[in-house]
Symmetry: C2
Subunit: 125 residues, 2 copies
């Protein structure tokens, strides 16, 4: 079994248009759960807005009013999901956004809703 639950194409079939199987629903739910957390949303937002598109943990802990272990935990969850990428330089760990997973999730929420378009997993450009 896979310990690291990365968000890939298999997680994001169109929410509408075809009925989700139990497995698909499970996968997509797990992916969404990663973002369904205030601290993690703020982290993503902070990282994305930061200069050069990356932040080190120390900057993030300062802004979040949460303990360092907690921030580290959330960063791990986001990284395991593939939403953030970690790069260690010297003593510091820098995080930056990985655009694709967010796009895939967006895609999962996309179609049928307004009339069953078909975007699926193809068009991430």
């Amino acid at each position: 079994m896979r310990l690291i639950q990365e968000i890939d194409q298999t997680c994001c079939p169109p929410l509408v248009g075809s009925v989700l199987t139990e497995t698909e629903a499970e996968r997509l739910a797990r992916a969404l759960r990663v973002l369904a957390e205030p601290a993690r949303l703020r982290l993503v937002s902070l990282v994305a807005a930061s200069d050069g598109g990356e932040s080190c943990v120390c900057d993030l802990t300062d802004r979040l009013d949460l303990g360092q272990p907690t921030v580290s935990h959330h960063l791990k969850v986001l990284t395991d999901a593939g939403i953030l990428r970690r790069e260690k330089r010297g003593r510091w760990a820098y995080y930056r956004i990985e655009p694709e997973p967010l796009e895939l999730l967006r895609g999962a929420l996309d179609p049928g809703t307004a009339g069953a378009r078909q975007s699926t997993e193809a068009g991430v450009t």
Copy 2:
């Protein structure tokens, strides 16, 4: 305070581009949490795929391998969030998709990710 947590514009500022405040993050997280659940994803998917765009609860309980109270609970959560709309006809309750909340959530996941576009809350058509 508001008991019913409906998904509206206030829940979905762009995830990136500006840094989410604690309140904004809380709101968006709560909205995402509604969908971050396998049973609810399947319900949305089932309703959307159903004939005429609506299902009654009895159809849904059959397909979900969950007790009727549980299904009813999930339907309530989805309805309170504004994702489903409930209409009672005779003894039956019919649920259908309300497209806008899903679109708003999609919008929240949209922009900056790839370079801070500005779609925000305007273009739902």
